[in-house]
């Protein structure tokens, strides 16, 4: 039995654990790390700053062809006829498809596809296609879709897809009855598109019936398996390569229709083919569904949260599910009830988007918490402290409140002058999850070179660097002394980068592979120079505990063969049920954010002045890249809170702002001071205790900003994005 020290200084939890033979001793609070927890620049930074990093979009061949869909401008229609004759007659057009007879359910759905020898010819050919539609009535909003006689979006049922009620409404009613204040309010959030800078798509190439796909994806193996199924070929005949990729945020788990079309065109033309969406198309390749959240919450005068009742409706376009929001959750309520419906509309499908359901739910939930606090005259931070079950968040509140200067917060609307300052805060949670199945190969060469290989992808989060740090830690090296190869499905399996499970899932197999390699290497050392391998270790580039001093390189020179290879995986409990090897500290990651805003009451413009984000992510492996991740979550949250909105014409269902001018994402002049504080918690569960960071930091931001705006104004804007128009309307409109 060994003792595992979990948690964080000031809140430790000790667990007795069994370390299975053949697995590395787990890291915990007592582990003295040499490189873990220190700032390390990204391994691929030089490639990225010099333009040498190759994305799917950058793959070039001399005989490359280009493929693209022609898309419907109508949101609901039948494709009567597609006339490709003029397009086909154009020199350089090498492949076409037409989807006559198809039912169009959203604007942007494909009606034909063309592949051509240049992008210019492709553009000409798409322009030359003539399509006849039977245009049908469409619905684009939740309200319109629920009206009597509204056109039905899918043939298999009504537009309203009711969610299963959660909780007991009677208990909530009882709690409301016992409460001192009941607040009822309606919150709205908008549709946000992922807007990946590298659009979705791929380059496909066939060689002797085998397919290679350079894919902009968050899941190389998912694309491989999807393509194998599509073409009825073995997985082993498909190779997917994603060396670098330009952002996914949950939307790139393909293969998508355009990837499959690309591969068909490549096969037919016997030439490599490239299909990457243009910016307009990218807006239909996934979005965060909108929401209308009707909330009824109650509280006692002493700050005890009582009842929480939420009925939410949102649209995920033509997807019959996925508009759920994370509300209420987060805090201890006496009783809670929610029903979350998805409403079908003639719009492109929602997709997982960075903490699906959470930012929209937390915007409403945290708004309600502040409204309750105001109703009973309690400081909103105090109300949260009283009802928050998470000890990590309780610690984070102190740090965040100090950093933002929470004592400066005034009563809502009490700031004098036309430009009003406001402070607000919000919290978020995410699961601490690690998925077994990922494998990492460690190869140590007799020349001292070290390579870690895994077939999954680095989507910009820094996975490559995390692997290097974890591997280097165990081998007593610097991260810059190890090579990492990612993004080729011929290497060992790795999960798709979703649910923020990448680091927690890949760090343990790296740890295991490196530890096993170390054991083997030290055996060779002992065989060569004597001593007890069990008592040796690798530290600072040297072997410790050996009869004579050896550098790492000299140690490698003792190997009888050219290289040694180990395959690390995340060990699971043996026996019935399996499960994670070690207990978890508390099974979730916690984050809190504080926002300071200035609101100009004459123009309605909100300027975020400062955000403080304190974010638990388990064991912090690289504070530098962790801060980047937190900044990124915060910035997407600011952008969501103030600017972004997919705007559909209500008559046609067509997106009128499908570009980067009308669809506004935050730029440099919109940036506040951002204080990102990674909060390290030894989370347990696996041998590394590393946890999730991709999604959590974008969860609280819009809620914190919404509360800060309400604090500044004394009136609340319960609808995202918080635009000048909405602020002015809340203040009473045209004065």
């Amino acid at each position: 039995m060994s003792e595992l020290r979990l948690g964080f200084p000031g809140n430790e939890k000790k667990e007795d654990v069994e370390i299975p033979p053949g697995t590395p001793p787990p890291w915990d609070l007592s582990t003295p790390h040499a490189v873990v927890g220190k700032d390390h620049p990204r391994l691929d930074a030089v490639a990225k700053v010099t333009g040498q990093a190759k994305y799917a979009y950058d793959i070039r061949f001399k005989d490359l062809i280009y493929a693209k869909f022609l898309r419907s401008p109508h949101a609901s229609a039948k494709v009567k006829r597609v006339d490709l004759s003029r397009a086909k007659a154009m020199p350089g057009v090498v492949y076409t498809e037409a989807y006559e007879g198809e039912t169009i359910r959203f604007a942007g759905q494909q009606v034909a596809g063309v592949a051509a020898e240049s992008e210019e010819i492709l553009d000409d050919a798409l322009r030359a296609i003539v399509v006849e539609y039977d245009v049908l009535p469409c619905v684009t909003t939740v309200e319109d879709a629920l009206r009597d006689g509204a056109p039905q979006v899918l043939a298999d049922g009504a537009n309203l897809r009711e969610g299963r009620p959660q909780g007991n409404l009677q208990l909530v009613e009882k709690a409301h009855a016992e409460a001192d204040a009941v607040v009822e309010a309606l919150y709205r959030t908008q549709v946000q598109t992922h807007s990946c800078l590298e659009t979705h798509g791929s380059v496909c190439k066939w060689d002797d019936g085998k397919l290679t796909v350079w894919s902009s994806t968050q899941s190389t193996f998912g694309v491989r398996d999807g393509m194998a199924r599509t073409f009825g070929i073995p997985q082993s005949d498909v190779t997917v390569i994603t060396e670098h990729m330009g952002g996914g945020f949950g939307s790139k788990f393909g293969p998508d229709a355009w990837d499959q079309f690309c591969a068909r065109a490549a096969r037919a033309a016997k030439r490599p083919c490239k299909a990457l969406l243009d910016r307009r198309e990218e807006h239909i390749a996934g979005n965060r569904p909108d929401s209308i959240q009707r909330c009824r919450f109650s509280v006692k005068k002493d700050g005890t949260l009582m009842g929480a009742e939420v009925r939410s409706q949102g649209t995920s376009g033509v997807s019959a599910g996925g508009a759920n929001v994370y509300n209420p959750g987060l805090y201890r309520f006496r009783a809670a009830y929610s029903q979350q419906d998805t409403v079908l509309t003639n719009a492109s499908s929602g997709r997982a988007f960075r903490a699906p359901g959470h930012p929209q739910g937390v915007f409403a939930l945290e708004g309600m918490i502040d409204e309750l606090a105001e109703a009973i005259g309690m400081d909103p931070l105090e109300l949260r402290r009283k009802n928050d079950p998470n000890v990590v968040r309780l610690a984070e509140y102190e740090i965040g409140a100090r950093e933002i200067g929470w004592h400066r917060r005034k009563k809502p609307g009490s700031d004098t002058g036309p430009v009003k300052r406001g402070l607000g805060m919000a919290s978020g949670r995410w699961g601490h999850n690690a998925r077994p199945g990922t494998e990492v190969r460690c190869t140590i060469g007799r020349d001292g070179s070290v390579l870690f290989a895994n077939g999954s992808q680095d989507i910009g989060t820094g996975t490559r660097t995390v692997i290097a740090i974890v591997g280097a830690e165990e081998l007593g090296l610097k991260p810059s002394e190890v090579e990492v190869r990612l993004g080729n499905t011929n290497d060992p399996y790795g999960h798709g980068s979703g649910g923020s499970v990448t680091t927690p899932s890949i760090a343990p197999p790296v740890h295991a592979a490196a530890w096993q390699a170390k054991q083997e290497l030290l055996k060779h050392v002992a065989a060569a120079v004597g001593g007890d391998a069990q008592k040796m270790d690798l530290r600072d580039g040297k072997v410790t505990g050996a009869p004579r001093e050896l550098t790492f390189k000299q140690a490698c020179g003792t190997m009888p063969v050219d290289q040694l290879t180990t395959l690390g995986h995340m060990a699971q409990k043996s026996g019935r049920g399996g499960g994670h090897l070690y207990p978890s500290f508390n099974g979730e990651v916690a984050g809190v954010q504080f926002a300071e805003v200035l609101v100009d009451t004459r123009t309605g413009v909100v300027r975020v002045v400062k955000i403080v984000a304190v974010q638990d992510c388990g064991l912090v492996i690289d504070p530098l890249t962790a801060k980047s991740q937190i900044n990124g979550g915060v910035i997407q949250g600011i952008s969501y809170a103030l600017f972004e909105e997919r705007i559909l014409d209500r008559r046609t269902g067509d997106q009128v702002n499908a570009d980067f001018l009308g669809y506004k994402i935050a730029g440099t002049l919109d940036m506040p001071e951002i204080v990102s504080i990674p909060f390290s918690v030894s989370q347990g569960m696996t041998s590394t205790g590393a946890s999730s960071l991709g999604e959590p930091p974008t969860v609280p931001t819009s809620g914190a900003i919404g509360n800060a705006v309400a604090n500044a104004l004394g009136v609340r804007v319960r609808s995202l994005p918080i635009t000048p128009a909405k602020v002015l309307a809340a203040l009473g409109g045209a004065r």
Binding site: R127, R602, T603, G604, I647, V656, L661, P724, A725, L728
Partner: protein, 318 residues
């Protein structure tokens, strides 16, 4: 983009001759920052693009060559000194990259950002394909005009135009039928059906230069705009103002708006409310929005415009 022949002109006269009589089959290109997106979306499909960028223009003192970039205008010391509204408007336009390419002439002649104008699938008065799509029920018009024209409710996007109107600038125009000088204030009108341009320029007529006359009014001028997003964004509304004070009495004043009407427009009601009187910024602001008829989604532009008028005049008064 449709393939086109590229005709590089060595002078405005040659360019104008090349354009005249060809209708939409030929278009002029200077910096390309407005034209290229229109070509890429195939809203315009000309056979010929006439390149103005290599024209050697012999600009005179007090002139902004039509091909001067916005960055050059914003940086020019004499513009900053004598026509601050113009320098400020140029400096706040778009992005550094676009200011390095976009030109004075191009900024004045740019096409509306109305998303219905820019999508051939919608009917559009300006494009001559039917009624305006931005006004009826179901339209999305949050960024459109609060002083709409009868048949078009787009909002004019130019930064420079209101500033030039406020300082009383003129443009020198070149055309085979004869050159002319036009007040910038009179350069724009509600076009007939099918005229994609917002200017009165005849087919093939090109702006060669902007003439700036230094006056006490122009020297005391400013430009303010409001953006939803502080980084690259078209103004929700913009106000340029120039004022000459005699003590605290307004001797003369010129005010112009952008982003609130289909064309940049002089705000005569606001001027008249304060001309010859003690400066009262609120009176000007009230008069500025009298007669505004917002659309379904843009009533907020009314208080925004009022505030911008207040801001511009308050800045000039201090």
């Amino acid at each position: 983009m449709k393939a086109f022949a590229y005709l590089t002109a060595d002078g405005f006269e040659a360019a104008s001759r090349a354009l005249a009589g060809k209708g939409p089959r030929a278009v002029a290109k200077a910096g390309g920052t407005d034209l290229l997106p229109l070509l890429k979306s195939r809203l315009f499909e000309p056979d010929e693009v006439v390149n103005l960028q290599r024209i050697r223009s012999d600009g005179r003192n007090g002139e902004l060559g039509a091909l001067a970039t916005l960055a050059e205008v914003a940086a020019a010391a004499w513009v900053r000194e004598d026509f601050p509204a113009v320098a400020k408007a140029a400096g706040e336009a778009a992005t550094p990259q676009i200011r390095n390419a976009g030109t004075v002439g191009g900024n004045l002649c740019q096409h509306t950002r109305c998303w219905y104008f820019r999508d051939a699938n919608y009917t559009c008065h300006k494009r001559g394909t039917g009624d305006c799509s931005a006004a009826p029920d179901g339209a999305q018009n949050r960024y459109h005009a609060i002083f709409p024209h009868k048949r078009c409710v787009s909002a004019h996007p130019s930064n420079l135009a209101p500033a030039l109107i406020a300082v009383g600038a003129k443009v020198i125009c070149v055309h085979p039928d004869g050159d002319r000088t036009v007040d910038v204030e009179l350069l724009y009108d509600e076009g007939p059906k099918g005229r994609t341009s917002d200017t009165i320029l005849r087919e093939g007529e090109l702006i060669r230069a902007v003439v700036l006359e230094p006056t006490p009014l122009a020297k005391r001028s400013t430009y303010v705009e409001l953006r939803e997003r502080q980084s690259f964004d078209f103004a929700l509304a913009s106000v340029a103002a120039a004022i000459e004070l005699d003590g605290d009495v307004v001797k003369d004043v010129r005010i112009a708006f952008g982003g609130v009407a289909p064309i940049p427009c002089r705000a005569k009601a606001a001027e008249n409310a304060i001309r010859g009187k003690k400066l009262d910024v609120d009176a000007a602001a009230r008069a500025a929005v009298a007669g505004a008829t917002p659309l379904s989604d843009n009533a907020y532009k009314v208080p925004v415009l009022k505030e911008l008028v207040r801001r511009a005049l308050t800045e000039l008064a201090s």
